[in-house]
Subunit: 250 residues, 2 copies
DNA sequence: CGCTCAGTTGAAGCATTTCAATTCTTGTGG
DNA sequence: CCACAAGAATTGAAATGCTTCAACTGAGCG
């Protein structure tokens, strides 16, 4: 951990708070040392910060340490699609690694802390620490799986199923990293964000949420989400609550 | 290439016909030798063969050498979403590499030849040939990009834009690997397949295709596709025809 | 206290689906 | 070489799910 970086509050990788989450695989001391050597520093932002901009090149790759963000793409007339939310432990920026420009934007939803890695050194990872390179690939494959699931949602699930599916998807991901307490989780985004993620209009998203709420399947108020009947919700969404979710941390 | 494999017509990696396509990066002799060592054999199937089945584990990973296939996911009631088409040079099967079961199916559309790699030896690739491991990751990132684009389509493009986008997307991919001759390409799938890929009903897909045809933007008949006015089609679809598309071959 | 942004709701319009035939292709057997 | 069956494409009409438009309400903040 270079103490001379321009960022405040550096967390040494050795003490990375994410390591304690049981979803992540255990790293060996060598692996942790290697990552910490690759880590350039930390980037702390407020909410609404644009970390990566569609069409712009980026020198860095990031692991989100704390906070929420999302990846999105937009059409020239402003229509926006949120392609995925970014939670602590998620890795972003790999997509543009060959061509110069990023194909999507990344924006924060809360104050956030990112661990930054120089793109130029990704090659070091492959040549010097294959186990971590393997993890990186695994993370890319995980992202693919999430995108596939979502494509299935947008293409074939009704508004209600899709909404149920997506909320559950986020709930489980948040739960995996310890963000759920007593069945409640903070969702730091608006209905507009959800609408942009599931491909519905804001109005219809709202009506669908209200319907799910009236049926006693969800409760989302003042930014806090919970499900009074997660089993029925999962059934409606065709969501497998039992799927294993262990993964690497980079 | 081991002449004792149970498959007929083995193509040595050194003479892989795909290497001549300019979209793929040049491999060094060492890299080619390494891949050929990893290659277990070839798998030749007829059309309509299920190579990988959602929910089933798979011992192998595949590179498609010849023919067309597609990846898909289905809901319990049979609704199907095609998440991507698979063309020669594409790699499939990475997704399930940690958990046992595949998250999607892969089915052929034509007689096809796949190069097969034992999943158990993927680790060798990372530990012994980092440049190829890097390529593998790059391919995963490319798949992510395609999925992101498609998510944008399903979520935010109208039926007409979406149809135009998808046809163009396939046209360009086919063109990259030399499948386009004099502006014409063989599309070996039905309107139902297209409908399942773009998240529309068969009937509406058909009507949209007819409208595009009447406007002189596309021509798709007896399995042959061409665009009499690719510029206007790309404009309608918000598709960037000029984007660079160089990539690795594994 | 009033401005702004997020959430909520009803009504009208429209894109897409569903239903129901009909036609066209292709392959097969007589 | 023709008749027929099966799958794919095509079309019209009716139904519906989702969007758009247009208010209005409520919460947070200076």
């Amino acid at each position: 951990m270079s103490p001379a970086t321009p960022f405040t509050y550096e967390v040494p990788c050795q003490q990375c708070p994410l390591r304690s989450c049981t979803v992540f695989r255990e790293l060996s001391d060598e692996e942790v040392d290697f990552v910490s050597q690759l880590k350039k520093g930390e980037l702390r932002t407020g909410p609404g910060a644009t970390l990566l901009q569609e069409g712009q090149p980026s020198e860095h790759l990031f692991t989100l340490l704390e906070g929420w963000a999302f990846r999105s793409k937009t059409l020239s007339d402003g229509r926006r699609q949120i392609t995925n939310f970014v939670l602590p432990g998620d890795f972003v920026g790999l997509q543009g690694s060959i061509q110069g420009a990023m194909e999507h934007s990344v924006e924060t939803l809360t104050p956030a802390a990112f661990c930054t890695f120089p793109r130029a050194r990704v090659w070091d990872l492959f040549s010097k620490c294959p186990s971590l390179a393997f993890d990186l690939t695994w993370l890319a494959a995980r992202e693919e799986r999430i995108l596939d699931e979502n494509l299935l949602s947008l293409g074939r699930r009704s508004a209600e199923e899709r909404t149920a599916y997506y909320l559950l998807h986020l709930y489980v991901r948040a739960d995996d990293i310890g963000l759920v307490t007593e069945g409640r989780v903070r969702f730091p985004f608006t209905q507009q964000h959800l609408a942009d993620a599931i491909g519905l209009s804001l109005v219809h998203t709202n009506k669908t949420l209200k319907r799910l709420e009236r049926r006693g399947l969800i409760h989302w108020d003042h930014g806090w989400f919970s499900s009074p009947d997660i089993g029925t919700l999962a059934e409606l969404a065709t969501f497998d609550l039992m799927a294993p979710r262990k993964r690497p941390l980079l």
